[in-house]
């Protein structure tokens, strides 16, 4: 049985499955790409053939345009087996954002799973993570420090609504990443009984429409730009993180500035962004989820793509799991967790 390191390789473009002839989430344009999810650092434009879940492909077309999203696109359903060269490949949900997938590969009896970005907390806008037993598990490590333990998202939404009740005249503007976090926040708010219209910054509308087309109901959404200041009193407005303390926010009524991100767990991070109401809501696995997932898939070897690999590897080594840092460049989960300084396009 060939060890996965003999057939799954780190190249300048990203992870390459040699006997299958495809890259996973390549950071440069390639001939054949398998894409885990539609975040911009994982789904780059310009590949010739793209294989992904239907949800991911729809989001890629909305973000990148028909051509740049892949000249030929192939959608694969959950668990559907596909032969690529000498490799059998299938996708299972990763629970990160709509359409996000883990890529499972089998080659001559040896199995590797590339999980992409993932989380274990239930998310009403995407299918839940499915653990796949494997020989090598490839994981992210965005929040791989024991200080990152995300509280239940309902708890954070309750804090937002409590603040809205205390300051009913002020606009609550919540900074959130345009893909995933935004729609999850809306769904969480609806689930918590917030049925008022939710106002959106222009950069968020298009992807919300894709979610709706994919069957995720979001309730009444309105354009914040078109609303009068008076209308926004007491409203909840969602905007890209870069806009919440920028000129755009001047249209809002005495805003309470909130930001939804796993990074908000650390006070200094919230303070440096001028956030008044930090909401710890993340689309990435926290420390406990990362460790539990490694244990659950039972892989004797774990590769870490990006993030704080040293703490995770230190910890799993003590449990007898071999760890390897891939140090893939080009992935930035500061961005998809809402820390980039300027408004997302």
């Amino acid at each position: 049985m060939p060890h996965p390191k003999t057939w799954l390789k780190v190249c300048p473009q990203g992870l390459y499955c040699e006997p299958g002839g495809f890259f996973i989430d390549p950071t440069r344009a390639v001939d054949r790409a398998v894409i885990t999810h539609a975040h911009s650092d994982h789904a780059r434009p310009g590949h010739r053939a793209v294989l992904a879940s239907a949800g991911t492909l729809a989001l890629m077309r909305a973000r990148l345009g028909e051509g740049p999203a892949g000249l030929t696109q192939q959608a694969l359903g959950w668990g559907e087996r596909l032969r690529m060269g000498e490799v059998t490949l299938w996708l299972e949900p990763a629970g990160h954002v709509l359409g996000s997938a883990q890529v499972a590969m089998e080659y001559r009896g040896s199995r590797a799973v590339v999980s992409g970005d993932y989380k274990r907390t239930p998310d009403p806008t995407c299918d839940p993570f499915v653990p796949i037993p494997c020989d090598v598990f490839v994981t992210e490590a965005t929040f791989a420090l024991p200080v990152f333990r995300h509280p239940p998202p309902d708890h954070e939404i309750a804090r937002l609504l409590a603040s809205r009740a205390l300051f009913p005249e002020r606009t609550h503007v919540v900074g959130c990443y345009a893909l995933g976090k935004c729609q999850r926040l809306i769904a969480l708010l609806r689930g918590a009984g917030w049925h008022e219209p939710i106002y959106l910054h222009g950069a968020l509308a298009a992807l919300c429409a894709v979610y709706e087309q994919q069957g995720v109901a979001l309730g009444e959404l309105r354009a914040a730009t078109a609303a009068a200041k008076d209308q926004l009193k007491g409203a909840i407005v969602l905007a890209p993180p870069g806009a919440i303390t920028d000129r755009w926010a001047r249209r809002l009524a005495e805003p309470v500035v909130a930001l939804a991100s796993g990074w908000m767990r650390v006070r200094q991070r919230a303070r440096s962004r001028g956030v008044e109401l930090p909401l710890v809501i993340s689309d990435h696995a926290d420390w406990d989820e990362l460790n539990a997932t490694v244990d659950e898939v039972g892989a004797p070897e774990v590769w870490v793509t990006h993030g704080r690999e040293e703490a995770l590897i230190h910890c799993i080594t003590q449990r007898g799991v071999r760890g390897r840092a891939l140090r893939l460049v080009g992935y930035s989960d500061e961005d998809d967790e809402g820390l980039s300084e300027e408004a997302a396009a």
Binding site: L145, P146, V147, F148, R149, P151, S163, L166, F167, T245, D246, R247, W248, A249, R250, E254, V256, V257, R265, V266, R267, Q268, A270, R271, S272, G274, V275, E276, L277, P278, R308, E310, A311, H314, C315, E341
Partner: protein, 535 residues
Amino acid sequence: MIAFADLLERLVFTPGRNAKIALLRRYFASEPDPDRGIGLAAVTGELAFTAAKPGLIRELAAARTDPELFAWSYDYVGDLAETVALMWPGKPTNAAPPSLTEVVETLETAPKSELPGIVAGWLDASEPSVRLALLKLITGALRVGVSARLAKVALAEMTDGRVAPDDVEEVWHGLAPPYAALFAWLEGRGVRPDPADAPVFRPPMLAHPLEPQDRVSLDARDYRAEWKWDGIRVQLVATPGGKRLYSRSGDDISGAFPEIVDAMNFEAVLDGELLVIREGEVAPFADLQQRLNRKGVTAKMLRDFPAGIRLYDMLFEGSEDIRPLPFDARRARLEAWHARVRPRLMALSPLIAFDSIEDLSAIRDDARAASIEGLMLKRGDSAYVPGRPKGQWWKWKRDPLTIDAVLMYAQRGHGKRSSFYSDYTFGLWREDGELVPVGKAYFGFTDAELAMLDRWVRNHTTARFGPVREVERAMVLEVAFDAAQLSTRHKSGVALRFPRIARIRTDKPAAEADRLETLMRLVENRAAEAGAAVA
């Protein structure tokens, strides 16, 4: 502890005064006694714990966490208590988080050796935000950013206007945590607490700035004039129940000025200016600053920065409230009392003789001493009324000094200004052609000027460091300030007092802005500094 931790969490990130008041009000209105009273004491800094040291937190962490994971985490978070609060691996427990009351009572009674076990149990039962509040509280590191005054305004708001903040102020210092009688009064369930002989703070009477249009209508005969000292205004309260020195905002600063409190061997409530005074000479404000914001004081500080008082009003003589008397009558009582009692370290702030407002104007222009900010004008018939009654007292500051400086950096503001680059660092040219920063200003401009500066900053950015932008050296700002003093803490060696933007000089090329040496000529404490260096 849960509601208290929530409150702290919100207060820490909330810039707006009104929002802070709303948060405090909700907390006081919804929490039960005695917890809310202890919470009140905690946010106003009246709870001081010394039982637990940061060392205890380290020991707890060492016992429960992997040293490498702890080191990485601490390195990332940067704050010991926060690191432990976040990474604490709780043991499953059915215990509820402790109440504030339980925490306070336990800390007062538990033997020191049992403390680590007790605290660990509390941490196990709590969520991260409660753990953080707990660790900050027990190590005496709770910094909330709420003044005592703000808490009193929030307390008064509980009554929807029935009780004013100044009413709370009047009874405040006679009360002690958990303030059950205070809350009963505020909620209409009890009588107003009687401060009796307690040395309580009396809300001060304040002055309006004297604008040119006010000046024309003044009749010189109605007014008395005093120097406006550049120190801090204080209230000296000595009653049979105790002796206190309060700042203008009602903070008890007795601990920082023991020599003044020692000298208060009388029964009276006095209004005056706290200053550093060496051999009868009033030192600049920078010297007084060495004594402020300290809980204790060393013998060396007492010697190097000796404090004294210039008295200008009397509120109580003995137990008699003389605030309803006119200023002239109070002044006469103050002078007679001072001649009789002769309190150490306290002199009368003299009345300045003048015939006309023009006369005064000349006196004000001549007063360039560092210790004098200008003049105070007080109506001879004015009763001592808390707050800022119209037309009674005026402050007439001398004209500010100005420099033309070059904008170097701009930083985003806070709260309502968080979308604007509203904090400006400006510099002056040194002889070698380098521009050195000399100060920072964040007010003095109109909304329209702010919008214009914000736009200019965005269009002329040369580098960015987080919330700060470095800009082209092309914008000249006329900066007004009250005084310039030598300072070792500033790169330029000089510190400005109350710098503000007076004008935007788009007409002036940056190369023609002022030089550092021009500013150095305006420095007031050069001699004093040289003297201090010798000593």
